[in-house]
């Protein structure tokens, strides 16, 4: 309990510091001005969301091969947390886009593939509510989860492979891409705080799923007695 409290307190401090750095420490971008400060939350949430979906993918693969409930619990915990981060990406993106592009949304490759990713993982969570039997639910959702992750490389590559309304990458984008050194430091610190938040949320969600598993086992035992 004390460990959990320390973890939560550290995460809150990191998130507050990251917010402060993004709003007051990072330099103002020359072309877009203040609105560019959304970048730190938007990009860090996107990277963290993809990290969570990768963890879900690993959990799904391990469940398919080992059939241990803990990998199923990891998969669902990571999918839900990844969905929360992707929701933030899809909300902050249009708030940033409107003053810069003059539109809230456009169906370009990056925006569409991100929205599809969100829909796929939302479906993954809905699918889990439709199957009662735990082993069947675990296997079906693991297989579907593996399929969902196929969209992640598409999200990553969309702004590299196609011409999009969405800006070109600043990270791993080749020649001409990049950021001011202070902006880099703030970006990585913000991402680190998001990863800490992801770890906190995921551990809470994992415990919830483990408890649900325990309840299902007890219920089954009670029914057979």
């Amino acid at each position: 309990m004390k460990k959990q409290f320390v973890g939560a307190a550290t995460t809150i401090i990191l998130v507050v510091l990251a917010g402060y750095a993004a709003l007051f420490v990072a330099p103002t971008e020359r072309t877009m001005g203040t609105i560019q400060r959304i970048f730190y939350l938007h990009v860090s949430s996107a990277w963290t969301g993809l990290t969570a979906f990768f963890i879900c993918f690993v959990g799904n693969l391990l469940y398919v091969f080992r059939r241990q409930p803990r990998w199923d619990w990891l998969g669902v915990a990571a999918a839900e947390v990844g969905l929360a981060f992707t929701t933030v990406v899809l909300i902050t993106g249009p708030i940033w886009a409107h003053p810069v592009w003059g539109i809230w949304w456009t169906w370009d490759a990056r925006l569409t593939s991100t929205f599809v990713l969100w829909l796929l993982y939302a479906s993954y969570l809905v699918l889990r509510t439709l199957v009662e039997e735990p082993e069947r639910r675990g296997l079906l959702s693991a297989l579907f989860g593996i399929f969902c992750f196929l969209d992640a490389p598409l999200v990553f590559g969309s702004i590299r492979w196609w011409r999009t309304q969405h800006p070109q990458p600043v990270f791993m984008g080749g020649a001409g891409s990049g950021l001011d050194p202070t902006m880099w430091k703030v970006t990585f610190f913000f991402w680190f705080s998001c990863l800490a938040l992801m770890a906190l949320l995921m551990s809470q969600r994992y415990q919830l799923e483990a408890m649900r598993g325990e309840l299902e086992t007890i219920r089954r035992e009670a029914e057979t007695q």
Binding site: G19, T34, I35, I95, P99, L208, I218, Q225
Partner: protein
């Protein structure tokens, strides 16, 4: 300081999403913990 309101709105909504999500996980955990305790009690009484 053009668009400052949009920046604050984005951060406020972003953090609100995480906070609300945390609350839903906490409330689901609490409800499940109660269910689990009730189930265990019922099983011991039956034995």
């Amino acid at each position: 300081m053009k668009n400052l309101n949009s920046v604050f709105a984005a951060y406020a909504i972003g953090w609100a999403v995480f906070f609300v999500y945390y609350l839903t996980v906490a409330s689901r955990t609490l409800a499940l913990r109660k269910d689990l305790a009730r189930m265990k009690r019922a099983l011991t009484e039956r034995k």
